[in-house]
């Protein structure tokens, strides 16, 4: 287990926080940490910034994230990792498609490689870290396109050579099913699943026998097309199969 001293905690909106910290770790865009909140839990978190300035960006969801959000500058943040495979580098014209906090995982890439960013959330209050040139979708129409980010993106899909997607699994399944391009060679999705070990042995995050923590979190279009559990079933903490609600 490693730890870093917290440099800063930024409140991005009502429920989304960024923790900045120094580290000597070697990490690449798309990788994640298992962040340990002693006395509470250990949770997987995407790195939202890599390099001179490391950061995680997360939505307050349960006890662990609540505790993390209440930590102070100078306190220690414990973690192990980075784990998972990075996003491959882009070729040609690039699009980033983010649903909700999926944007956090894409940010290190967005800052490194030019591209068009499509980001969506329920309402304008759920959006975070927006740049002026982001293409925005909100389900209630309070900002940008009214509808979900998949609706917004599929109209423009043909323009791009490389596409990176990160968001809720149902949203990513919907996008996978609606993509109509002929070549899918450079389309990458980063999955988020309940994870316990982060190192490929507990089987909690497996989709059709592929471990999101070890063989992912980034999968290609072709890989996901063959996984009939993707976006349809997930596992609870006991390993029980649960149905994922579909995107309307």
């Amino acid at each position: 287990m490693n730890f870093s001293v917290i440099k800063e905690i930024v409140n991005e909106n009502d429920s989304i926080f960024t923790i900045r910290f120094d580290s000597v770790m070697v990490a690449k865009p798309g990788q994640f940490l298992m962040v340990w909140v002693p006395g509470v839990k250990e949770v997987p978190m995407s790195l939202s910034s890599i390099g001179d300035d490391f950061a995680i960006t997360f939505k307050v969801f349960g006890e662990s994230t609540k505790k993390l959000a209440s930590m102070k500058k100078g306190e220690r943040m414990f973690y192990r990792g980075p784990y998972g495979n990075p996003y491959p580098e882009p070729e040609g014209k690039t699009a980033y498609v983010a649903g909700g906090t999926g944007l956090a995982s894409l940010l290190p890439l967005i800052r490194k490689y030019k591209g068009d960013v499509y980001t969506g959330a329920r309402t304008r209050n759920d959006l975070f870290l927006l740049d002026d040139d982001f293409r925005i979708a909100t389900e209630d129409g309070s900002l940008g396109f009214r509808g979900n980010v998949v609706d917004l993106f599929v109209k423009e899909e043909d323009e791009y050579d490389t596409v990176y997607v990160c968001g809720p699994e149902a949203m990513m399944r919907s996008l996978l099913d609606r993509m109509h391009r002929e070549k899918h060679g450079n389309v990458y999705f980063s999955l988020e699943r309940l994870m316990k070990c982060g190192i490929g042995i507990c089987d909690s995050c497996s989709v059709n026998g592929y471990r999101v923590c070890k063989e992912g979190t980034v999968f290609t279009y072709e890989q996901l097309k063959k996984m009939d559990e993707f976006g349809v079933y997930r596992r609870s903490g006991s390993g029980k199969i649960e149905l994922i609600a579909k995107v309307q």
Binding site: G200, I201, D203, G209, R235, S238
Partner: protein, 300 residues
């Protein structure tokens, strides 16, 4: 080509390497993948009569000599397990691991497993980190004897008894389990660890099971001690990362081996590594089959 086939109880196996219970065996997709990767048998995560979420994370911690875990017998329960595995394509290559608090619960689960069409049952008499089951059952010789007698007389399943090393003398429990078709030696060793900067236990449950390279000598000793006292087939498990490790177990009397934590170090290639390595070793050393070396160092 020398033969690496072996047998355990009434089961004939094309190779001697199995996936141990508790690692990459919660989902049917991963069970299939283990078998496709060369495992002769894949043992399921231990299944109980009702759903258990297990302990909060952290449930796994990698240490210098292996790994600590206290997953807490997370499992979907026998009903959900039945739903997911009722159409599993190669049921003869699956051993279903079960845990229970008493003879009745073991018998109930065994009948459900037999009803699904599986042939092999592994009894978890050895999980070191959940109260009232696992090693707490597995330290009571009378209870172990009763459970196995009932299961053998009321089902036609092959019964493998997985025993705990966290006991004064493992031979005492092995004798109590002598009506089983095979012993599985050993489960993880009861253990703990501390993060000195957080000043917290590494596992949320504080106490867990120790696995990986560091426990191989303990497992080998258990296999050797039991082999000296019994002719029953033994499946060796504990710290096996490659074929050298497996051969040690065979020489001391194991007929087959299981790998678990080894998958962390070697991933799915571990089955081919071990199987190919054993074949090469047998050939290089002038043996014609795996049978020739099983218990070679124990036979008088």
């Amino acid at each position: 080509m020398v033969s690496i086939s072996t047998s355990v109880g009434d089961i004939r196996l094309s190779n001697p390497v199995m996936l141990a219970s508790g690692i990459l065996d919660e989902t049917s997709g991963s069970m299939k993948r283990a078998l496709e990767s060369g495992a002769a048998i894949a043992v399921t995560k231990s299944i109980g009569s009702s759903e258990r979420k297990g302990y909060p994370t952290p449930v796994v911690s990698v240490i210098a000599t292996g790994m600590l875990n206290a997953v807490g017998l997370a499992n979907p329960g026998i009903d959900s397990f039945s739903e997911e595995f009722s159409n599993f394509p190669v049921k003869e290559k699956v051993a279903v691991s079960i845990f229970g608090k008493d003879t009745e619960e073991f018998l109930y689960l065994a009948r459900r497993v037999e009803g699904l069409g599986f042939k092999i049952l592994e009894l978890n008499l050895s999980c070191p980190h959940v109260a009232g089951v696992g090693s707490e059952i597995g330290q009571d010789p009378d209870l172990v004897e009763d459970i196995i007698r009932e299961l053998k007389s009321r089902t036609n399943l092959q019964i493998w008894a997985k025993l705990t090393p966290s006991i004064t003398n493992i031979v005492t429990i092995a004798k109590a389990a002598e009506k089983a078709d095979a012993y599985v030696l050993i489960n993880t060793v009861k253990a703990t660890g501390v993060d000195i900067y957080a000043r917290q236990f590494l596992l949320s449950n504080k106490i867990g099971g120790y696995s990986g390279p560091g426990i191989k000598p303990i497992a080998l000793r258990a296999v050797y001690d039991v082999r000296k006292e019994s002719e029953k087939d033994i499946i060796g498990v504990g710290g096996i990362n490659d074929w050298n490790d497996a051969v040690e177990f065979f020489l001391l009397g194991a007929s087959a081996v299981q790998v678990g934590t080894g998958l962390y170090y070697r991933d799915y290639g571990i089955y081919d590594n071990i199987n190919a390595g054993i074949a090469r070793y047998l050939e290089d050393e002038g043996f014609s089959s795996l049978d020739d070396i099983i218990g070679l160092m124990v036979k008088s």
